[in-house]
């Protein structure tokens, strides 16, 4: 206590001025934050980092994403290049159905002349296209479909679910009845049906546009996801919103006149972010599953664009002579789906320990 402060009498009712004294250096030091306070996100990531299986899967997924993003830009072959076909010359059949690390006739001649040629790591397919780059493109397509389909599901599901949960009452009943009905439709059959129809109707519409390269099959997959798959997410979000609605901070926000949109965006969505992260992560593998299934049936991406499902489907015809063509895409689908599943489980354990089974 410094000298300047007047001393307080024992029974005086006056304020004890010494409580308002400037803090000493030592007291100031006590207030210094030793470390950053942890946020919800950081806390979850810390728990995730401890989960070895999830981290291995995350690394695997990052690796695959890096490969499919960057390798095609410097890979010497294109996914649609028929290596035996040169304009103005008869096509060279020696390029078709090459085994892994074999070369076509002209390539062999060039190697004999001392030239270095990039090997066909997985061989070529029946049309003489390098199989490795087709696998890379196929994986890219599968991942893109999985990612964007999940985003579509996320956006629609969150908006629909939060509106239904927030307003409650009649709005909720009507919106949830619609969800119940869509939920009870057999999804895979509806997907097949819509894909058949969209494939026929969209083709003339998108001809000549940038979407044509993507193919009506891909677009119909997205459309189908947007039409049917969001209901699960909507139900989940509605349940969360219903419980968050009871919280005092929502009442507080309403009492100071915040608009519903603002409350949903600023207070409710951030509080169900864990559910959103987890279910989106688990939605991706299921979308990849669906895409590969449709491509296998011939309803997926447009030729010559490959996808893991269509590669496996095409390989079925030559299964006796060229089993590797079937096994490679099959194994890659399994690895991607498995690691995404395990990562999703890891995220669930990390961000919402209550959900752990």
């Amino acid at each position: 206590m410094s000298e300047k402060m007047p001393k307080k009498n024992m029974f005086s009712l006056q304020l004890d001025l010494s409580s308002f004294e400037a803090a000493t250096e030592e007291e100031k030091r006590q207030q210094v934050r030793m470390r950053e306070s942890t946020t919800f996100f950081k806390d979850g990531m810390r728990r995730l980092a401890k989960n070895k299986i999830a981290m291995i899967c995350l690394c695997l997924i990052v690796l695959v994403v890096l490969i499919v993003t960057f390798v095609p830009s410097f890979y010497p072959y294109e996914y649609s290049d028929q290596l035996g076909v040169t304009p103005g010359q008869p096509s060279d059949a020696s390029y078709n159905n090459l085994k892994p690390f074999e070369y076509g006739e002209t390539e062999l001649a060039r190697i004999a002349a001392g030239e270095k040629i990039f090997p066909h790591i997985f061989g070529t397919d029946a049309s003489g296209r390098d199989y490795c780059i087709r696998i890379i493109y196929g994986t890219r397509i599968s991942l893109i479909v999985g990612f964007f389909a999940s985003i579509i599901v996320l956006i629609i599901g969150v908006i629909y679910g939060s509106i239904s949960g927030y307003y409650g009452g009649k709005v909720d009943i009507i919106m949830m009845r619609i969800v119940d009905i869509i939920y009870s439709l057999p999804d895979m059959l509806m997907i097949i049906l819509f894909s058949v129809v969209f494939k026929q109707t969209l083709d003339p519409l998108i001809e000549g546009t940038a979407l044509a390269k993507l193919g009506s099959g891909m677009i119909s997959i997205f459309l189908v996801f947007a039409l049917l798959y969001w209901v699960g997410m909507a139900r989940l979000i509605r349940g969360q919103i219903l419980s968050i609605k009871q919280m005092d901070y929502v009442l507080n926000a309403r009492s100071i006149g915040a608009k519903p949109g603002h409350i949903i965006r600023r207070h409710m969505i951030p509080n169900c972010i864990s559910v959103i992260i987890i279910s989106t992560a688990l939605q991706i593998p299921s979308a990849i599953f669906t895409e590969s299934f449709l491509s296998f049936l011939g309803l997926g991406v447009a030729i010559p664009m490959p996808s893991l499902g269509s590669l496996a489907s095409n390989a079925l015809d030559g299964i006796i002579s060229y089993p590797s063509r079937l096994i490679i895409p099959a194994v890659i689908i399994c690895i991607i789906v498995l690691s995404l599943n395990l990562l999703g489980d890891g995220l669930r354990d990390a961000f919402d320990p209550k959900l752990k089974k």
Binding site: L189, M190, L193, Q200, F296, L297, I327, A330, L342
Partner: protein, 308 residues
Amino acid sequence: MDSKMAFYIVKRLLLALLTVFLIITITFFVMKAIPGGPFLSEKAPSPAVTAMLEAKYGLDKPIMEQYVTYLKGVVTLDFGPSIKQRGREVMDLITEGFKVSAKLGGSAAALAIVIGLVLGSLAAVFHNKWVDKLIMVTSTASVAMPSFVIATLLLYFFCIRFQLLPANGQTAAGLILPIIALSLYPMSYITRLTRSSMLDVLGQDYIRTANAKGVSPSRVLFKHALKNAVTPVITYAGPMIAYILTGSLVVERIFAVPGLGKYFVSSIINRDYPMVMGTTIFLACLMVIMTLVSDILYKVFDPRVDLS
């Protein structure tokens, strides 16, 4: 069965009926939205022939009239004639294919349930031992495999590499691989489901009581525990049927089983629209009914479940 139960069943029945009606409507109008029509192939017939064909199949009438006619047909299980397979009724083709598919799917479902229950109980009894870990790793891995991947790998290894089983699904021995391919995914799912519910049940007081009064371990497991652990598996019956039905589309194609799935896929490729519509409606109704039955059974088996 009290009034609440009856109310629940009536409510679910109404919802199922509405769903079936919706499926028929969606299927009809969505298929009608396809431009070109079914007679448009590489060698297009002359306008006169097309008009005659359309008149024959009733395609020249206004769309609402066609819809009502189709709806009436569906109620009497008449899906009209197939366009690509001359002179055959869609319903005949469906029953023919469904006989094979039902055998395949039924065996796959039975296999999945039996083995899934056994493996799941084993994993729960040996919780955290190597048996449990092995079962969990295998089931987690096989949930990540699409049915066509499982089917093609089985085909390659068992039919081509080691030549143990025929690849052709038309014989009885040839059905073994398709059944395995179809049942692996639901089997793994049931294993995981049984394991978690079994672990829950094994921690209950009445199990401890049974053990304490000297009931033999196998009796405790089968009589006391499994009976209670099996209820969540019933809820999976609906989704399982759905999975097996859609899975059979590709599995039947891979193993050349002459079932409904193979017809469905080939009719998609051939643009045999009445066949696609008929099969979609048939399969969808089957799924809706199975889900309804499994949901109601669940409530019957476990009266504690809240019906609201």
